[in-house]
């Protein structure tokens, strides 16, 4: 994930790189670590099955197809308004993103915040109400 953030930096996306590090390295991975520490790692038994080999064949085919479509065929660049110079003139990647986000993408921004709120409330409900029926079942 941090390597990916460095790759983001390579493509003039400093703000998104910072967000990537904070969100993924800071929040998501810690959450995963907590869950793994809570549940404990267990060695999984891998027996060969038709589904497994089918999955491998599928993924390898997809990889080949994507590589083929990436290397073959022309790509036509479309020029937008934000090159590195204009971004620097505006005052950095974060400011440019902020201007864009709060002018043209306000609805998407508000929807994203609503989504986060719904997720938070859902988690509270899930963790609060799942205890009671569980205890009753155990008795």
């Amino acid at each position: 994930m941090i390597c990916l953030a460095l790759l983001f930096l390579l493509y003039n996306a400093e703000f998104v790189a910072a967000v990537q590090i904070i969100v993924y390295a800071g929040a998501v991975m810690i959450l995963f670590l907590f869950i793994i520490a809570l549940l404990g790692g267990k060695k999984e038994i891998q027996e060969p099955s038709t589904e497994r080999s089918l999955a491998i064949v599928f993924v390898v085919t997809m990889l080949g197809e994507l590589f083929l479509s990436a290397t073959v065929g022309p790509t036509r660049p479309v020029e937008g308004a934000f090159d590195a110079q204009t971004v620097a003139e505006v005052g950095g990647s974060a400011k440019a993103i902020g201007l864009e986000l709060f002018s043209r993408h306000v609805v998407a921004f508000e929807l994203a915040s609503a989504l986060l709120l719904v997720a938070a409330v859902g988690i509270i409900c899930l963790s609060k109400f799942s205890y009671v029926p569980l205890r009753r079942r155990m008795k």
């Binding site: 994930m1 990916l4 790759l7 983001f8 493509y11 996306a13 998104v16 967000v19 990537q20 969100v23 993924y24 929040a27 998501v28 959450l31 995963f32 869950i35 809570l38 549940l39 267990k42 999984e44 891998q46 497994r52 999955a55 491998i56 993924v59 390898v60 997809m62 990889l63 994507l66 590589f67 990436a70 290397t71 790509t75 660049p77 479309v78 020029e79 937008g80 308004a81 934000f82 090159d83 990647s93 440019a96 993103i97 864009e100 986000l101 993408h105 998407a108 994203a112 989504l115 986060l116 719904v118 997720a119 938070a120 859902g122 988690i123 899930l126 963790s127 799942s130 569980l134 079942r137």
Partner: protein, 99 residues
């Protein structure tokens, strides 16, 4: 660092994620694979937003990160609840909706 570099890296990361999702049986690992796939698409969006000199790709990437964060939280809670009721971590054994 042309278009092809971005496309190839992104395709590779996506396929690693897809393979992990399809092959592994631990729901946690499967979740990490989903994150990998989302991240590869993020990288593609950012690379192409840089090529096309537009900010839209970066905004899209931010939105995808938001959705991914919400999804991780909900999914991990579901995994935790399943583990609490079943004490079992194999997705192949979870085949009934009635708890």
């Amino acid at each position: 660092m042309g278009h092809q570099f971005v496309l190839l890296i992104s395709a590779t990361i996506f396929c690693v994620g897809a393979a992990g999702f399809l092959i592994r049986k631990n729901p946690l690992i499967m979740f990490m694979s989903v994150e990998l796939m989302l991240n590869s698409v993020n990288f593609l969006l950012i690379g192409f937003s840089s090529f096309q000199k537009s900010m839209d790709g970066q905004i899209f990437a931010l939105m995808i990160m938001t959705v991914a964060a919400a999804e991780v939280v909900v999914g991990l809670a579901i995994i935790l609840t399943i583990f609490r009721t079943r004490h079992d971590m194999d997705v192949d054994h979870i085949n009934t909706l009635k708890g």
